[in-house]
């Protein structure tokens, strides 16, 4: 009986302690929370454009159904493009691919980037054209290894339809070797 009383007394004391201590659980209270903001505008200063159409198709294509589709890898000059699809030629003809419209004002620079290679007597002339007028050219000399190369059109005054022309030329003797283009894109920079 005494043991039971002790247990009951302890239970009663515990209940009282819980009842007394409960109100104190609310003390870690946030006094005041306010919000502030820091605003900023990030200005777009460059865009990349990949080819989207075939204009003249006199080269051969490997690994793709269209010429532009063989070179629109979407890879930039810090990476190796896909090497299984490409356009190539050993004949002195021109291939031309088209690009989407550049709907931007205040363009400061348009850079044509090409990942290409040439055989021992193959030379490739690559022209960046605006409304069929060449604005910048890139010459890839014979026996050039695979790699990114570029040519720049500075301060374009009026931008219309952009196309890129690939011309193969034989330079030197022997059986003709090939000009090969794996990837092409243009980089457009703006003044802001």
């Amino acid at each position: 009986m005494n043991k039971r009383r002790d247990v009951l007394r302890e239970g009663l004391i515990l209940s009282l302690l819980i009842a007394i201590s409960l109100p104190f659980f609310g003390y870690a209270f946030v006094y005041e929370a306010q919000t502030q903001s820091v605003a900023q505008m990030i200005l777009n200063t460059e865009n990349f454009y990949d080819p989207t159409s075939d204009v003249s198709v006199y080269w051969k294509v490997n690994g793709a159904g269209s010429h532009w589709g063989a070179v629109d890898d979407g890879v930039r000059n810090n990476s190796t493009p896909i090497l299984v699809d490409y356009i190539y030629s050993s004949k002195q003809k021109a291939d031309i691919i088209g690009f989407p419209d550049i709907n931007k004002v205040e363009v400061s620079t348009i850079i044509l980037w090409v990942y290409s290679a040439t055989g021992s007597n193959a030379k490739t002339i690559i022209n960046l054209r605006n409304d069929n007028i060449t604005q910048a050219s890139l010459i890839v000399n014979p026996n050039s290894p695979q790699g990114w190369r570029s040519t720049t059109w500075q301060n374009p005054s009026s931008i219309g339809t952009i196309t890129v022309e690939f011309i193969h030329a034989k330079e030197g003797t022997g059986a003709p070797t090939e000009s090969i283009v794996y990837a092409v894109y243009i980089e457009v920079r703006y003044t802001v």
């Binding site: 109100p23 005041e32 900023q40 777009n44």
Partner: protein, 178 residues
């Protein structure tokens, strides 16, 4: 018989005490609710917070800029707090970790006004918020009085496909507990 009676009486007494204990807990829960309301009102006197919003302007993609109150006025005294008690805890929680348009976004929070007697000094760094550490718990305001903080901000923008507006939101709260 008497043993049985005694046992029944004992059980009845035990049951009554258990019921009494449960009713005490019920009453105490009710008291707790009321008590916590009155505590809220008391703690509300601990501090008054005033904040400034800032507009940093434009940043080109890839560009890095450093902003202080000398080139963006609102970064000076960006946080002002009046405390009425010692050891008020200042918490800063931001959404910096949600920003994807930046390579770097550091907000250095510096003491610009400190009550006399504090262990802090004007110009000391209170904390730094960044893309990887967007929150800080907590700056201890050890003396009652006026506290102000400047922001110094370094931002480096990623590449974006079009002009992109960004806003960092900082929730500043003062608590009586860490």
């Amino acid at each position: 018989m008497s043993r049985r009676k005694m046992s029944k009486k004992g059980k009845l007494a035990g049951l009554l005490i258990v019921i009494l204990s449960l009713s005490l807990i019920g009453v105490s829960a009710y008291i707790y609710d009321q008590a916590s309301q009155s505590v809220n009102q008391t703690v509300k006197e601990v501090a008054t917070v005033n904040l400034k919003n800032s507009a940093l302007g434009n940043l080109k993609e890839g560009e890095t800029k450093f902003y202080t109150k000398s080139n963006v006025t609102d970064l000076g005294d960006a946080i002002s707090i009046e405390t009425t008690e010692v050891n008020v805890y200042l918490h800063l929680n931001s959404n910096l970790d949600a920003l994807t348009a930046y390579v770097t976004y550091n907000i250095v929070v510096k003491f610009s006004t400190v009550p006399s007697g504090s262990s802090h000094s004007v110009g000391d760094t209170a904390c730094t918020l960044s893309l990887s550490s967007p929150d800080y718990n907590s700056v201890v305001l050890d003396i009652a009085g006026t506290w102000k903080f400047d922001f110094e901000i370094t931002t480096t923008a990623n590449s974006v496909n079009s002009d992109t507006a960004t806003a960092v939101t900082i929730i500043v709260s003062a608590e009586s507990a860490p």
